[in-house]
């Protein structure tokens, strides 16, 4: 058995999760220190969001154990606040009331302060529908932070934002994290975002952790930096590795006839330029010589 390591905040030990007999998480071991910022990356459907929802206590795990601050987690994680991809603001509550959700007593001042921290103090009386996507996520961030959580869980919160707003939000989250010193887990499909913001990047594939990489870059991180690019490249290579193998297998096995396009397309992962090259390759081949 794992003994409790003094500075570890969240400990996952052989965590299992299945949906309809299909394993989604299959023996996850992960220790996160107090104040650490961990990013979880992986292809869609790899189980990274499920991992986050387990830590939040929104779902039950089927095997293993999760400990938060030395205590076994068996229901809603009260130390954590979660931020979702789709803001999930209540459209019928004004911004300030959204931030104050679940607060008691004299909460207005705290909510206003939280809004100030995300730079939206003068939007308190607006309806959420009047805000842009980035502003909505800022409000969602304020709503999470107003509870002063020990753990901030981020479930692809920037996934739906445009590139510029996203970088702005990453900086904001990093700044607040440095100031408040909470532990954070960020689930994202954007490797660059993970490297930009996290102390450690974890890659999940088929329900298992296949990469656990410390990012030892000084903050604030420069994206143009070659060390930064190397980290991103390394993780991307690891993610794409399996895709490349599959693609090679398919290309080698199939006779060079038209159906190849259709079959190859199914297996080749998202990256579209690869599809393009396969298609072009066939066109070239068919040209009368």
């Amino acid at each position: 058995m794992l003994s409790h390591i003094p500075d570890s905040h969240i400990v996952l030990d052989a965590v299992q999760k299945t949906y309809n007999n299909r394993p989604v998480l299959n023996g996850i071991n992960l220790t996160i220190k107090f104040g650490e910022f961990v990013a979880v990356v992986g292809k869609s459907g790899c189980g990274k969001s499920t991992l986050l929802r387990l830590v939040a206590g929104l779902e039950k795990y089927d095997g293993g154990s999760i400990c938060v601050g030395g205590m076994a987690l068996n229901r809603l994680n009260k130390h954590a606040r979660i931020m979702f991809q789709d803001g999930r603001l209540l459209p019928w509550k004004r911004v300030i009331d959204n931030v104050g959700l679940g607060l008691h007593g004299n909460w207005k001042m705290e909510a206003l302060q939280a809004l100030r921290n995300v730079g939206l103090e003068e939007r308190g009386q607006d309806w959420p529908a009047k805000l842009s996507g980035g502003q909505k996520q800022r409000v969602a961030l304020a709503r999470a932070l107003v509870h002063k959580p020990d753990i901030l869980l981020l479930d692809e919160p920037l996934g739906a934002l445009d590139a510029l707003t996203r970088i702005e939000m990453q900086d904001l989250i990093e700044t607040i994290w440095k100031e408040k010193k909470f532990t954070s887990i960020l689930v994202t499909h954007d490797v660059e975002e993970a490297v930009a913001i996290a102390d450690r990047v974890i890659l999940i594939e088929d329900g298992k952790i296949v990469l656990n990489k410390l990012i030892n870059l000084p903050r604030p991180r420069q994206r143009s930096n070659s060390a930064f690019a190397n980290h991103v490249e390394e993780i991307l290579d690891r993610i794409m590795l399996r895709g490349k193998e599959k693609e090679l297998l398919v290309v080698n096995r199939q006779p060079e006839t038209l159906p190849l396009v259709r079959k190859a397309k199914k297996v080749v992962p998202e990256s579209s330029y690869k599809e393009e090259s396969v298609r072009n390759g066939i066109k070239d081949h068919q040209k009368p010589q």
């Binding site: 929104l58 979702f84 209540l90 959700l101 959420p128």
Partner: protein, 254 residues
């Protein structure tokens, strides 16, 4: 060029067609094209209204009809709302009641009038019962549907932020279902008037429907038309009130 319609015009334009129709009606009636035995002139209808108001008869019938409508609406609406609420929230309650309610819903409630007259006679109870029955189902369906279709993600978010029980209901479930509930209420206001008219026409000794039927006996065309106009005005009035409530409660949606 795009024609722009300013504020004042927006208020008046919807009334242009009714006013025009009234004018034509008045003109044709005074010219004798429409015989008064078929349709009395608008001014005659107005005169009948004034006369009946002076005798106090109109006000009596009006307040009796209004009282019936509102009592039936409150009873039926409350029952429909509560049933929709419970069946929307509780799986057990839904299993128990939904099928039965859906079966009853498909019976036209006006078909029950003969039965209701035998049960309750032709006094107030029978009218209120029929109105309540008619109002119940639209409110039920829309409340039930509204609560069922509240965004599950929002509920989950609320739970993750520590809301439960009553707080969860009043913060997320009820506001989320409100626009659907209000649709049900607006619809049932229409049902309320229609049901009342039929009920009063068939069996009553007071109310606007009775006034119309009574006038028929004496061939008082102006009174008959007056009661029809009154129903139209009340229908419009309840719609306006419902819209105002919607505008206030669903501000965030505009």
């Amino acid at each position: 060029m795009k024609p722009s319609i300013n504020g004042a015009a927006k208020v008046f334009i919807p009334w242009a067609v009714p006013v025009l129709l009234l004018l034509c009606w008045q003109i044709f009636a005074s010219m004798g094209v429409i015989p008064p035995r078929i349709l009395p002139a608008p001014l005659d209808v107005l005169k009948a209204a004034v006369e009946l108001t002076q005798t106090g008869e109109l006000l009596d019938h009006l307040s009796i009809s209004l009282g019936r409508a509102l009592t039936g609406f409150l009873i039926g609406g409350t029952i429909g709302f509560l049933l929709g609420l419970f069946n929307g929230i509780s799986k057990v309650s839904e299993l128990f009641f939904d099928t039965s309610i859906q079966m009853l819903r498909n019976i036209p409630h006006l078909a029950l009038i003969p039965l209701v007259i035998l049960w309750f006679g032709i006094d107030e109870t029978s009218k209120i019962f029929i109105v309540a029955l008619g109002v119940l189902f639209p409110v039920y369906i829309n409340t039930y549907h509204g609560i069922k279709s509240v965004d599950k993600n929002l509920i989950e978010m609320g739970q993750a932020y520590g809301l439960k029980g009553g707080a969860l209901f009043w913060t997320i479930i009820f506001p989320g279902a409100l626009s659907s509930i209000l649709v049900g209420i607006r619809f049932s206001l229409g049902v309320m008037w229609m049901t009342l008219i039929v009920a009063e026409t068939i069996s009553a000794h007071s109310g606007i429907g009775y006034m119309a039927m009574n006038a028929r006996e004496f061939m008082q065309m102006d009174v008959i038309v007056l009661s029809i106009v009154l129903y139209a005005l009340f229908g419009k009035l309840s719609d306006v009130i419902a819209r105002m409530v919607e505008g206030k409660w669903l501000q965030w949606n505009s």
